[in-house]
Amino acid sequence: MKLGLGLIAGLLAISAAPVSLAAQQDIATRLAGRVPPDVAALVQQLAADAAARGLPMDPLIQKAIEGSAKGVPAERVATAVRTVAGQLDAAAAALRDGGLVPTDTAAIAAGAFALNAGLNDRNLTDLTRASRPPYSVATTLRVASTLAAMGVPAAQVVELVTQVIAAGEPAESVVNLPAQVQARVSHGQGMTPAQAAAGLARAAAARANPPGQNKPKPPHP
């Protein structure tokens, strides 16, 4: 009887663990033959820690595989994986400050990528606050990081995306922003991505606040 209770307790402990045995096996399978054993062990540990904090594990696995595929020495791969782990932590904190429930791992992964693309914690928080339904935080952050990767300064990225959302435009309009910036750069004579983004932001602001339409005054106390 005692053995039975012990077995049940063990099974419960395993089932309650942050990373299940099946998940650990899955990670090991993905890393097997792709990364050196010491890097694989590090990724397993970081993935377990990430899962315990509600963070996504896939970016850690991807970075380790990427580094090894590119022939990068194990030490540098380990450093890069640790950097990604730190970005995931920072992104989760920034998104929490913006009011996002910490279970949205897709948004956290997008936030970590946005940090790598050049946005900062405050940018992430501002974009999260602006991205209320029907706008998806993950999509907004992916668009923002793409704009940053195109060369649009972070502050202008936030301005453009928040203006489009404030104008109440469809969610697809946010997704199409990188293409719109690219189109302006391609067709404008000597226009930079920053200038293109600034022009789109001004247009969105004009749609959000049409001329002659007074903003409602705050009520008197």
């Binding site: 595929a69 590119k70 992916r142 793409t146 997704v175």
Partner: protein, 199 residues
């Protein structure tokens, strides 16, 4: 059974009086009235039942009221009446529909989300082989080779990718990692650049 004359029947029905009957029918009419009165008197006579009958009936009732055995309760034929009411039928149908949906609902497919077909192009006139590696193929340099197009030096590959954000790079001749010149790029953490594709 006595078959009275039709006029006598009318007398019994109260449609005519005895004086209205022809003289030859009055005797028959009087007889008919006497029989009806006698029948009425008989019907009004109280019935006195025997005390023994009362005792037998109550004994039978008590024996039926006594708790039957379990076997008898299980095997005793019963009359079951089903009364179908619309306001009970509707929730029952709804519950059946939900159950059916749960039983036949297909498992969520990993490719159920939106996918986008993308064409990758690289101009590499001196390359012997070009491949595509990225987050969408686990950075496998052998998974997605590009093919030469009709235009000299142009390599292409067309992929269907899930909506989301992808990092990738071209791998030229199996060793040289080249970012896509037509796409934005970010630091890969290893001193190189990864191209970014947002779908």
């Amino acid at each position: 059974m006595t078959d009275f004359h039709p006029d006598v029947k009318r007398l019994l029905d109260g449609e005519v009086s005895l004086a209205d009957l022809p003289s030859e029918l009055r005797a028959e009419g009087e007889e008919a009235l006497r029989l009806v009165a006698a029948a009425a008197d008989w019907a009004r006579t109280p019935v006195t039942l025997s005390p023994a009958l009362d005792a037998r009936v109550m004994a039978a009732v008590r024996s039926r009221a006594a708790a039957p055995s379990l076997w008898r309760r299980l095997t005793e034929p019963r009359e079951v009446r089903l009364r179908l009411r619309p306001w009970i039928l509707a929730p029952a149908l709804a519950a059946a529909a939900v159950l059916a949906l749960l039983l036949v609902r297909p498992a969520p497919s990993p490719v159920a989300s939106a996918t986008v077909t993308v064409r990758f192009v690289l101009f590499a006139p001196d390359a012997q082989q070009v491949a595509l590696a990225g987050t969408f193929n686990q950075w496998d340099v052998a998974a997605t080779p590009l093919v030469r197009s009709n235009a000299p030096g142009v390599w292409t590959a067309t992929l269907t990718l899930p909506a989301g954000q992808h990092e990738y790079a071209f791998v030229v001749d199996g060793a040289r990692w080249v970012p896509d010149p037509a796409a934005p790029a970010v630091d890969d953490g290893f001193g190189r650049r990864n191209s970014v594709l947002t779908l």
